[in-house]
Structures are given as C-alpha cells and as structure tokens.
Assembly symmetry: C2
Homo-oligomer: 403 residues x 2
C-alpha cells in the first residue's frame, strides 16, 4: 500500500515533549486573558470561500487551501473553471472568522465584546525554516469599544501574559494609521499611492533613507516631495505632539496616542515608543497600530491595532474594533531557546510487572497513587530490563517492581 | 460584497458559554489521562489523500473534505480526472493520523507508547440534529502492548475520567472479534460474508431475531445454518466460558476476556457485561471490543478495541495496539442536559467608568484585583445604564462605579 509516513508538506507532528510546553503556555494565556474579561470563542477552520476571498486578507488570499465541492454540486461545477469546483477553504487568519462570528451571533454577545480566540490557521506558503503551513494564532479583540480603553486593555493584557512567562523589558512600538495617511496627504502624494508608499516606508530600517527614496521615485513621485516626506522621519520622536506639529495632525489623534502611552506605562513595566515608521501590513487598520518586542530580541512577538471599518461590512452597522495577536509559534521557539521550564511536576511512578499475576496484586495501590495526583505508568518487564529501567528513570519515573 | 454570516454547512460557532463547558471537560480529561501515563500528541488536520483513502476508514472515506492542489501542480492535473486535482484532505478520524505519526516518530516515543489525542475531525455527512461536520474526538491508544494490560488500563482510565464528571453506574459491554469470527466459521458460513453477517447481527436489538434472520437469508445463507447461528445468541451470557463452549472457542480468548472483566470490576465501580452481539463498526479490530454506557442513557458514549494488524501497515513491523475513544460532543450534550455546573468561579467585577479620566483613577486597583485572581471587565457607562447594569449582574459581575 501507498502509505506516507511524514506529515503533509510544511505541517508538523507534535511530540509529547512539544505538547507539554504548548499546553503550559496555553494554560497561562487562558488564565491571564480570562482575568481581563476576555471570553473564549471558537469558529470552524473551514470557511466559505466567498468570505476568504473578499479582499480583507491581503496577500494571504493567495495562500488558501481550497476545498472541493462534494456530490452533485461538484458535478454541476464547470470543469474548465477550477474556482467553480470549490465551495470553501481553510481559514488563513482568525480575523475574517471573527467578523463573521460577530455578525452571526451579535445578540448573544456582551457589549462591548471582548473576544479571545486560539486556533490553527492555514497558509500554503513556500516551506522555509520556522514557517509552517499549519500554525496557531492567539487573538484578542474588543468589538464595540470606540475609545482607547480598547488599546490600553489589550496592550496591558498581553504584557501581563508575557510577564507570567518570565519575559521582561517590554517595548511597545506604537503609531497611528491616521498619522501615516496625513503625512502622505500633507506632502501632496496621491491617495491611491498610499499603500505602495507605506510598503516602501516599512523598509526604512532595512534599506535606509536612500533605499526608500529610490523606491518612492520608482513610483513616479517628485523628488522634492519625496525629500520633504522622508525629512519628517528624521525628526525627534520623543514627543508625539512635537513630531506631528509640522504636518498639522489633528490634535485628537495626538492626544489619543499620548493617553494610551502614558496609561500603559504607568500601570505595567513596559516602554512605549512612538515610531512613525511603523506600518503593519494589513490595509484594514484605521487608528492606532502597535507591536510588542521583548528584551534583546530583534523581532516583534505580537502586534495589532484598531480596525473600525471592517466588521461593519459583515454587520451593516458601525462596529469599532481593536485587536492584538501574539505570534504563538515564535513565542514557543523563544521559550525553547531559553530553556524555559514549565515547573509543573507531579511525582511519576513506573510499576514494572514481572508476570500476568502482578497487576492484580498492585492495581489497587496503583490507582490510589493516581487518585493522590501521581502519574503512574504500568508496564511489563521487558527482556532488556536494564535499558527499560534507565529509559524510564531518565524520563523522571521512580521504578516500582511488582513480583 | 458577498459575505456569508453563518458557518459553513454542518459546522458550528462556539459561543463563550459553550466554550466554558468544553474547556472544563478538556481540563478534567487531560488531568485524569496524564495520571495514567498517557502522553498528549497532535497531528495536522490536513492528511495525505493517499493515507485517507487506504481503506482503513470504512464508510468515512466517502465523506472526505478534499483539498485541491496548488500552483503548478494543479495545472499538471488532468482536468477530466477530478482526483488528480487533489493532494490532501481533512482527517475523518484520529486513528489514521496516529498510525502515520507512530511510524514517523517511533524512535522518539516510549515503549509501549500511551498516546492521548484531542482534535477536530471532519466528515461531510448529511446534516442532521446532533451530527456535525467538524467535531472533536478524544482518543486514547496504547501501541506496542500485546497483553490485556492495554484493555484494562484504557477502560479504567475512561471510567476514572467520566467519574470525575460526576457520572455513575457504568456498564461496559464487551466482546471479542475472534468470538464473532469463530461463530460464523463454526456454523459454516463463508468467510467472505463475515462483514455482511456482522452488519445484520449488529441490528439484533433493533429488528429482533426475525429481522436478522430475513437479512441473513437475503445474503443467500441456508435457513438451517442461520437458525443454528442465531440460536447461539439465545443462550445465557453470564459466563463467557459457558457461552463459548458450544462452538469450541479457544480457551485463551475466553480467559483473556474474563481477566479483563474481573480486573476492571474489582478496581472501579462498573459493571462489565459480556455481549456476544456487540460488533463495533470498524473492520480493523482483531481482539476485544467494548463500549461504555452511563446510567440510564441508551447510547454508548465511548468505545474501542484491539487492532493488532493496522499499525504494522505503516511501520512494517508487528505493532499490537488497542484504543478507546470517548464521544466528546455527545458527552457535552449529556452534561448540558443534566445542567452540569463546572463549579469554577472566580469573583467577577465590572468597573464602570463615567468619563475618560476615570480609568486613570481606578486602573491600579483594577489590575491589582486581576493579580489577586479576579475577573475584571472595564467599560464605559452606557446611555442605558440600568440595562447595562442588569446585564452584567445577570452574568455574575459585581458593579464598581468610577466617577
């Protein structure tokens, strides 16, 4: 027969030792987020193809695992139009399903709704180290809260969670989508070039002013304006207000950002840094956007922002929203690199039976030990007892021989 | 735009209140099974189409959600042969992935390997009440244990888990696939009709002796032999030995079953009942098979058995195996019907802010409460405060107003 032993490309088998850490981190996460009043919900991994291809997912829409229609409906499809053979796909994020969920269940949910989602998502990416085609996302979202209470609570919750895993020295980079837009507008760039301009700006720390300049010129922008635009970013960023003065940003946007930064900083041990070059990928953001970094690590391990216009496409009514997602797989890698110990160890016993009458003798004691909270394995003595014993002892089991 | 609010057909959104019970039951299950030395593992929901269609899955293979190839490989497929457009599918059970997992990771796993899996599986069944296309399975399996220690530990573990959820009065119906085979053989029925004969026998409690007789006759079996066959089942089943005497069953099969029954009964509060009409669907079983019922409920909420020949198709070496699966969704329905209470309640507070300066005043106190283990929601006072207050109080929140 034609069995294949390895998982499908880009996906992973999780060994017991992998699961111990995953389960521990999930447990801590659930405990912390519950205390912030976030409510766990769940949606199917299979989503309508119409919802997945509705242009909310950006580049991810190219990476969908598509599911074929079944039965008669498959026969009705046009065989020369592959899309007509498809009715659903695997979700590539938890945001599209959240929007659908909220629209579908609104009357049953609290207002504002503090949603917490943990679930696998699927992207048919090219295989590369640390990139998986099935990976877990952990999203917090507050729907129906128009004030910065949402941003403040989300950032505080995530920092509290990461602190419970012994991370320290958090830096939150924060910006506002409206600041990004306003600068482009103020310089006089055309609005339809906004996305392309921001894609270039996003590379500032990698390719420098020169690199970004040449990318912006490639877009057909005037040299003088490009210079004026990039000059903004050379300014001191220690005060949001001072930074924003030269392009006449709305006072409300500035003070909103300042309040978020001050309140969070006052209450948890984190540095909030205004970073006008922070872009974040998704086009659906409408207000504050942010990323969290820990200690000396170069990469953000989570990020999010306000997206006030997306949910209403499903609900047909104004629904302000703000979310924060932690990169679960990256977080696990970091913890493993640091030799993080879960520190949850019950006593472990291995009862080794010499023959078929031994179980009867010891079974009451075995089950009593389990009732007392111990982990107990029962197994027959193997021919190579020395090896059996050593393996079990290495796994932390105390040996009990039953003759 | 073309958004669809409802989940895809046969799948479900899980509301916060649904998740509270699910999470509690999973937590209890994980705690209990860990004490029996079972190790949690996980496999991808996407599986190679070759593995899913290898005839291990019986009827379930007709219900596969198939995933289309992507990129160039899709173009290489023959558009007139739909199967050539598919490279994978969603798993319909956890047994096929377990076999693949074991073959793939054997050197890294303990011997015998006590596997514990929790995960969603997918079947494109016709929609009907209580049947879902995405549902959770919770499987225990012991691989590499040829003795009845496997059956005894599996049954004991499941009873211990269900007892922790306040279920009582367990009945285990138990049989052995070899007894079923031997009776068919002894009467002189042709071996290739075994499956069809067992499908008929399985309906004995629903359609009675007359019904089964007529089904067996339809298979072309001789009336006399059918009578002789069904007469077996009229006999007293209180002793496995006595029951099996008339068709000369191997003594070892009988005593094996008796040992399982006696040992389990001696150690946990359950009735084990030999039931020679118990068939269990899957053809891969090779030895003891069993089902668990609770109290007055008419349906089994779990079942399993020994399947010594399946894993070796993947590993190419003899790998005895035995498993027990609890019907998670049915279990949840039962608990809901009974008004089961999780009994896990931290104090819950809702801080109601009157204006934008209130958060700053109360935030330290709020976060202190969370650190102390309380659940705290923060929200702005709504225009209809009376309604807001009542809703929160109904959800168990104590109100704290911040002016």
């Amino acid at each position: 027969m034609n069995f294949i032993k390895t998982p499908t490309k880009g996906m992973r088998d999780m060994l017991p030792k992998d699961m111990v850490l995953r389960e521990y981190v999930l447990k801590v996460m659930k405990e912390v987020y519950a205390k912030f009043g976030f409510e766990l919900i769940q949606t199917p991994v299979v989503e309508h193809i119409e919802n997945l291809t509705s242009k909310q997912g950006g580049e991810n829409e190219k990476l969908i695992f598509k599911i074929m229609k079944r039965g008669e409906k498959l026969n009705e499809g046009d065989i020369n139009d592959l899309d007509s053979l498809v009715d659903s796909g695997l979700r590539y994020d938890l945001t599209v399903p959240l929007a659908r969920f909220y629209a579908n269940n609104m009357p049953l949910l609290s207002t504002p709704f503090r949603a917490f989602q943990v679930g696998n998502v699927y992207r048919a990416e090219r295989s590369q180290k640390g990139r998986f085609r099935e990976f877990m996302q952990c999203d917090l979202d507050i729907l129906g809260e128009k004030t910065n209470l949402a941003e403040i609570e989300l950032i505080t919750a995530v920092i509290t969670f990461l602190s419970a895993l012994q991370f320290k020295n958090f830096t939150i980079r924060i910006n506002d989508r409206r600041i990004l837009t306003k600068m482009v507008e103020y310089v006089g760039f055309k609005e339809e070039l906004l996305d392309s301009i921001l894609i270039a700006l996003d590379k500032l720390d990698k390719i420098g002013v020169e690199g970004v300049t040449s990318e912006l010129l490639t877009l057909g922008l005037e040299e003088e304006k490009v210079k004026k635009y990039l000059n903004f970013f050379a300014k001191d960023t220690s005060s949001v207000k001072d930074f924003c003065e030269s392009f006449q940003m709305d006072e409300s946007v500035v003070s909103n950002l300042e309040t978020i930064m001050e309140t969070v900083q006052k209450n948890v041990d984190a540095t909030l840094k205004f970073d006008p070059t922070l872009v974040r990928g998704m086009g659906y953001y409408t207000g504050p956007i942010f990323e969290i970094m820990v200690e000396e690590e170069a990469f953000a391990i989570g990020g999010g922002g306000r997206y006030d216009k997306m949910i209403e496409k499903y609900t047909n009514q104004p629904t302000p929203a703000c979310g924060f997602s932690v990169g679960f797989e990256r977080l696990l890698l970091l913890l493993e690199e640091r030799g993080f110990m879960c520190g949850e160890e019950q006593p472990k016993f291995a009862y080794i039976l010499s023959d078929e009458n031994s179980l009867d003798k010891a079974y009451e004691e075995i089950n009593q030990k389990r009732e007392d909270g111990c982990v107990v394995k029962v197994l027959y003595r193997s021919k190579n007892f020395k090896f059996q014993r050593e393996t079990l002892e290495n796994d932390g089991y105390q040996i009990v021989e039953v003759n």
